[in-house]
Symmetry: C2
Subunit: 442 residues, 2 copies
């Protein structure tokens, strides 16, 4: 607030109604309303079939499992669960997390190197806080998780997309990006990757490619931040082992209970090299003192007292059924389009005809009672107008079918309009330096 | 990690064993192990009477209240509690928070302007992220909350202590600090204050002083961040109304359920002017997507289904009894010292003879099975060697008595040693620009 005009009531309106506008840190300009957030409001109306969002189907988790975990927690750890905890997270949970990670090939890790967080978004935030000065470079996939992009932006990172092919990150593009960054006199602070059932594409990095990416990153001294919230939710065959399973020193590994148990508990975790682990704990303490003891104990008791592996199988079967429903509906109602075939996770990535603008089409779609996520949110550079992300995790198969039918009507109506009146005049120009087709396209 | 030597195994040891040392952001050097953290480890051994820490006595909360809140939550809001929520927090809880704030004179606020957070430390972190560029100035009390100091440091703030007197922040010092900052060509981004039962001093700002501080801050265009975790835990008479009750536009108000219910749920909140509120929600989303729905619903059902006002009374009476026990023990065992008489909250601030160093004395104290918090952690400028913070919130009255007796032995032994061998050679020089005696001293 300027000294000359300290009272908000006397501030001139116009440019901005917030009298503290001039006081914010420079990073705050990077905090903008994400497209996903705006969508949550629209899509939450019950009559809308939401293929947007990315919420898990928590109704597949029997109440009784949560209740009995809570009962055991109160009986055996009540006072601890209600009290402050340590910044690193409770040891019993960190031991259990080792079992979880072992399912993806990560063995020989120590609970000492695990840090629990308030969901893995918190881990993304803290890792960025630890490593990124304004202007520092982060490499990531094309497209990439909208929540990570937002956090990177909030720390004023210089975010660069690496091209993709059928097996994940393209090696030439990765090497070229590192070279280019260094030619500019900068350093790559880390490579952020979601190798399993990527959000938004559903694409999985091959085992060979994981080794190649790791080898290059070791050679070039680039830290890998491997974000793996969906890995255990495979449909047909298991995903390749985590990159972290191949190397302990160059990989920060992020996991979460949001998709295999409940996002309402906000429990995520990081497995980190020693030095980074120490800094991470301090960053947790600085940001929240300690993660919720109650939620950590609840998750611990859930893992100790229930057949959580069987519950993950239940989730897997639920999501596979829904993925199948979406594939069948796409084939039936939108056979002229192309899309990825996810082998796990929550998302499918759809290529629209280049004449369509997924963001401009959204209001019409919600009017037709279907919602999706426009592709633009998943790029830092304005691409994605001709892509949409569809999520099949939350709606029942019949609703998925209905949603895709409605979507087909909207798309076909738009195409008719364009045929009659020409393309939209105000969509942003495509950036043609990169191939715009997503990989693994159907 | 330097390009020329990318493999941790080939790194020279020596300066730092962390191969990623050179990759951290500049702010990361501000993340250091807090004295409070190190103490938690020492003081957690059961044979040690801990007058350190600042944990609430959660055992005063009947299990049945938590269990019945959980049951109602699962019955009426199970799927919502297990799912993601909005970044601002659930509306039902935000409505309830209005009732809580009304107890401290804040009326006419809207639930739209409340944002829930992962404890109020999270709020401190997000507010700092929103406002502080490296080198920006924050004014705060002398001494001030160690957790806030750590967070401010982690954003590379330029932190300045304002002198205190019997009624709280000294007006001349506050005005002088603002003048001085501006003479340096800088701006004060905000004034951080804990006006009720301050951590660490236990001192409360008078009603008159609140109005004076507010008037000056309005005149000078300085935002006030009012942190009030202890306000409802008064002993004899209520604390004056919150500063926020006097003005809605210049005050960011922070509250918490940690001390009136449970810190294990990590639920705090902010009441913010509109423009800041909008940015805060985005900052919450960027850092954790959404606060725990489960914990928010649990708190909501606790507030709706139990006599929470009576429970706060129970806490108040418990802590008053313990404060009294500590006062009596201090009078009996350490009558030669001076200390503050807190009228609420968890902490008493003790002035040691100037020849003692509270940090150096701590290992001897823990050997004698008593722990406290050295004063130095509560200053950004190295002062506090001759102060200690004692907490009476967690131990039973008899343990408090035992702890103070042990502390008296340690202090008297130290004084004997000094009389025999002279003062410690390696304690840091005191900064005598400011009076070192805490206000409201007994």
């Amino acid at each position: 607030m300027p000294v000359s005009s300290p009272d908000p009531a006397t501030q001139p309106g116009g440019r901005n109604l917030d009298p503290w506008y001039d006081n914010y840190a420079s990073r705050t300009s990077g905090l903008t309303v994400s497209e996903v957030r705006a969508l949550f409001a629209v899509a939450s109306r019950p009559e809308v079939v939401s293929l947007a969002g990315g919420s898990p189907f928590v109704a597949a988790l029997p109440d009784s499992l949560v209740r009995s975990a809570f009962d055991r927690m109160m009986r055996e750890h009540g006072p601890e669960a209600l009290q402050y905890g340590g910044g690193q997270g409770i040891p019993q949970l960190r031991e259990r997390i080792l079992e979880l990670m072992a399912l993806e090939g990560i063995t020989g890790a120590s609970a000492d190197d695990v840090v629990t967080t308030t969901g893995s978004q918190h881990a993304i935030d803290l890792v960025t806080k630890l490593f990124i000065n304004p202007g520092d470079v982060i490499l990531l996939e094309t497209p990439s998780y909208v929540g990570a992009l937002g956090t990177f932006k909030s720390y004023e990172a210089d975010v660069r997309h690496v091209d993709m092919d059928d097996e994940g990150l393209n090696m030439e593009s990765l090497a070229e990006n590192i070279r280019k960054v260094r030619a500019e006199g900068k350093e790559v602070k880390f490579l952020y990757t979601v190798p399993n059932f990527n959000n938004p594409t559903g694409v999985t990095m091959s085992a060979t490619r994981r080794q190649e990416v790791l080898d290059l990153c070791i050679r070039e001294g680039v830290l890998i931040v491997e974000d793996n919230p969906y890995g255990l939710l495979y449909f047909d065959e298991k995903a390749p082992n985590a990159i972290r399973s191949l190397d302990a020193d160059h990989v920060l590994y992020l996991g979460s209970f949001s998709k295999i148990l409940s996002p309402g508990v906000r429990v995520g975790y990081v497995l980190a090299p020693h030095g980074i682990r120490e800094k991470l704990i301090l960053a947790v303490e600085s940001s929240i003192l300690s993660p919720s003891s109650l939620n950590q104990w609840l998750v611990t008791e859930y893992l100790e007292g229930s057949d959580w592996r069987a519950q993950i199988d239940t989730f897997r079967h639920t999501y596979r059924e829904r993925r199948d429903a979406m594939l069948a509906a796409m084939q039936e109602y939108l056979p002229q389009l192309s899309w990825t075939i996810p082998n796990g996770g929550f998302f499918m990535w759809v290529q629209l005809p280049d004449t369509l603008d997924s963001k401009q089409m959204l209001p019409r779609a919600t009017k037709e009672l279907v919602a999706y996520t426009p592709g633009t949110g998943f790029y830092a550079d304005g691409r994605g107008h001709d892509k949409i992300r569809l999520s099949y995790s939350l709606p029942e198969p019949e609703r998925i079918r209905l949603g895709v039918r409605r979507l087909a009507n909207v798309i076909n109506d738009e195409l008719d309009l364009i045929e009659t009146f020409g393309t939209f005049s105000n969509r942003s120009d495509d950036d043609n330096r990169f191939p715009s087709a997503p990989p693994n396209i159907n």
